[in-house]
């Protein structure tokens, strides 16, 4: 039985803002199937009582003091942007009014 459907692949693609041709979609379904086969092998390991790994490195948290540096030159900040107005990036109008915080 297929572990991943074409619809799921398309949903993941749309969340990543990717548009897939039919051919690419078919190929990704096959590739996901093979990844999931690998995951199945990992699932066989008994992990009861094992703390989930969030990071492979175990170190004290590196931090820095709260000392501001001089901000970068605003002109160079927007230098690589396709378009800018004064020191602001100019992007195509966003239709979805949702903003996160």
């Amino acid at each position: 039985m297929a572990r991943i459907s074409r619809a799921e692949v398309e949903r993941v693609a749309s969340l990543a803002r990717l548009s897939l041709s039919d051919e690419e979609g078919d190929r990704l379904v096959r590739e996901f199937e093979s990844f999931l086969g690998y995951i199945d092998t990992l699932q066989e390991i008994d992990t009861a009582g094992v703390v989930p790994t969030a990071h492979p490195i175990s170190l004290p948290t590196p931090t820095r003091p709260d000392e501001p540096e001089v901000a970068m030159d605003p002109d160079s900040a927007v230098a690589n942007a396709p378009e800018a107005v004064a020191s602001a990036f100019l992007v195509p109008k966003v239709i979805d009014t949702e903003a996160e915080g």
Binding site: L15, R17, R64, E67, P68, P74, S87, L90
Partner: protein, 489 residues
């Protein structure tokens, strides 16, 4: 419009975002400058330029722990930064660094004022689900005049500013409770110096989840989310409008759809921004650029021992140690600025109730008329204490001193030299006062007669006449003494 849901029980939970008061950003050394020109306080990390790596700001962690402890949370020794993935132009990395599965803190509570049985003042406890750390996004500016109708401006000054998100349990039952809760949060953040928590400046923002259910039901109804509310009034109005909208839908036999709503203050109505067909899918996963945050128990305990006194504790102290009324104590702890000012002035002067009266009456009124915040005023608590002492000692009169408050609040200065410069020193010269008293008695024979027939209260009228004759500069104690002597003859 009713504040409660009528035949339905209102269920509200809040997600509050508060900027932490740091000098630099959460993961980059870019300075935090409010009101700067677009992209004038950025660093390659804020722009997500290739090859950059986030490094955690230790002071942001300290402030987040302090806030969590002040709100009675359990702070965890281990927490994980996660990537919250979504696409928006003001989020250059394509993800926000937040915390998901293992947040900084869980549990906790905030008390809000409420009316108990018989209308007595009481407290209601709002439980917290969690407090986690995250970075803010940049700002999209929709300005057709500058950007044209088809484009949006993006300013990344705010990108990476440290935030805590405080998530409440759905314990709130009305629009008023929602704003009371937010006020309580703001007070804690300010008294702990964690955040300026100024809604107008966007330091404090909140999303409100609202649902209705029949009274007595244990199940929650479908909730809607009100986003981007930026003033206490809008929150209260928006929640009321949404309660009304959902009530109408349910009364008509309809079903509330899960959605995100915006509130339009002009029309007073909520409108659907986005229908949530599926649950949000942010594909959270631990950020491989950041090692889990490990806090030593000693660090947490040190921060706990340093949590400053909150408004409530201070108000209680003002009542118990200094005998202030509950109402005065609450007003004097409305902000850390007022509480600190009062405390310093009362310590210096020695009579807290007298100082409280001057602050609550004259200083507050002057601030209101000048549209100033005490923080921005050069008036020092020492100067207030000195001014009041001069009144106590008869060196100036209450009237003269009150007349100086607005000026002191606006431009500061030394009360003693101001009183000398303006000729506001109290007149206590016996000759001058005796002359004034004699004139007043001569001008008001009928009152003198009334006094002798037993109407002792007319002495106050006569006092007033003497004060008027001396342009309010007479030392009242001296006048009273002379009047009593002259009338007793």
């Amino acid at each position: 419009m009713s504040a409660s849901g009528g035949e339905f029980e209102v269920v509200i939970g809040l997600e509050v975002h508060a900027h932490l008061r740091t000098k630099s950003k959460l993961f980059s050394p870019a300075p935090i400058l409010y009101g700067a020109e677009p992209n004038h306080s950025v660093h390659p990390v804020c722009l997500a330029l290739p090859g950059v790596l986030p490094v955690l700001n230790e002071h942001a962690v300290e402030l987040a722990i302090r806030a969590a402890l002040a709100m009675n949370c359990e702070v965890h020794q281990r927490s994980i930064f996660a990537r919250k993935n979504y696409f928006y132009p003001d989020l250059p990395k394509g993800y926000q660094i937040s915390q998901y599965e293992e947040p900084l803190a869980t549990g906790g509570w905030v008390d809000i004022p409420t009316q108990g049985a018989g209308g007595a003042a009481s407290k209601k406890r709002v439980r917290l689900t969690r407090i986690h750390m995250e970075e803010d996004a940049g700002k999209s500016i929709h300005d057709d005049a500058i950007a044209g109708a088809d484009a949006t401006l993006v300013d990344l000054n705010r990108a990476g500013v440290p935030l805590i998100e405080i998530v409440s349990e759905p314990d709130i039952r009305s629009a008023e409770e929602a704003t009371d809760y937010l006020r309580a949060i703001r007070s804690i953040l300010r008294f702990t110096d964690v955040s300026d928590a100024d809604m107008e400046k966007g330091h404090l923002r909140c999303d409100v989840n609202v649902s209705l259910r029949p009274h007595g039901s244990d199940e929650y109804g479908t909730r809607t989310e009100l986003k981007n509310l930026n003033s206490f009034r809008f929150i209260e109005d928006a929640v009321r409008a949404e309660i009304e909208r959902q009530s109408e839908t349910l009364r008509a036999g309809g079903a509330v759809r899960q959605c995100t709503l915006a509130y339009d203050p002009q029309s007073g109505r909520t409108s659907v921004l986005r229908i949530k067909e599926d649950a949000d899918d942010y594909r959270y996963f631990p950020d491989p650029d950041l090692i889990p945050m490990l806090l030593a128990p000693e660090q947490i305990e040190r921060v706990r021992s340093e949590v400053p006194e909150l408004a409530e504790q201070r108000a209680e102290r003002f009542q118990h140690e200094w005998g202030l009324s509950e109402q005065d104590a609450i007003q004097l702890t409305a902000s850390p600025a007022i509480a600190n000012f009062f405390q310093a002035a009362a310590d210096r002067h020695g009579a807290p109730q007298t100082v409280a009266n001057w602050i609550l009456r004259d200083v507050m009124q002057a601030l209101k008329e000048l549209e100033m915040a005490l923080d921005d005023s050069p008036f020092s608590p020492e100067a207030l204490a000195q001014l009041i002492s001069m009144v106590d000692e008869g060196k100036t009169t209450v009237k003269s001193a009150r007349g100086l408050i607005a000026e002191l609040v606006e431009s500061g200065g030394d009360p003693e030299s101001l009183i000398a410069e303006r000729g506001l020193a109290a007149v206590s010269d016996a000759g001058v006062l005796e002359r004034a008293v004699a004139e007043v008695l001569a001008e008001n024979p009928e009152n003198v007669e009334l006094f002798h027939s037993g109407e002792k209260k007319v002495v106050n009228f006569l006092m007033g006449q003497v004060m008027r004759k001396t342009q309010g500069k007479a030392d009242p104690a001296a006048v009273r003494e002379i009047l009593a002597r002259e009338l007793g003859k």
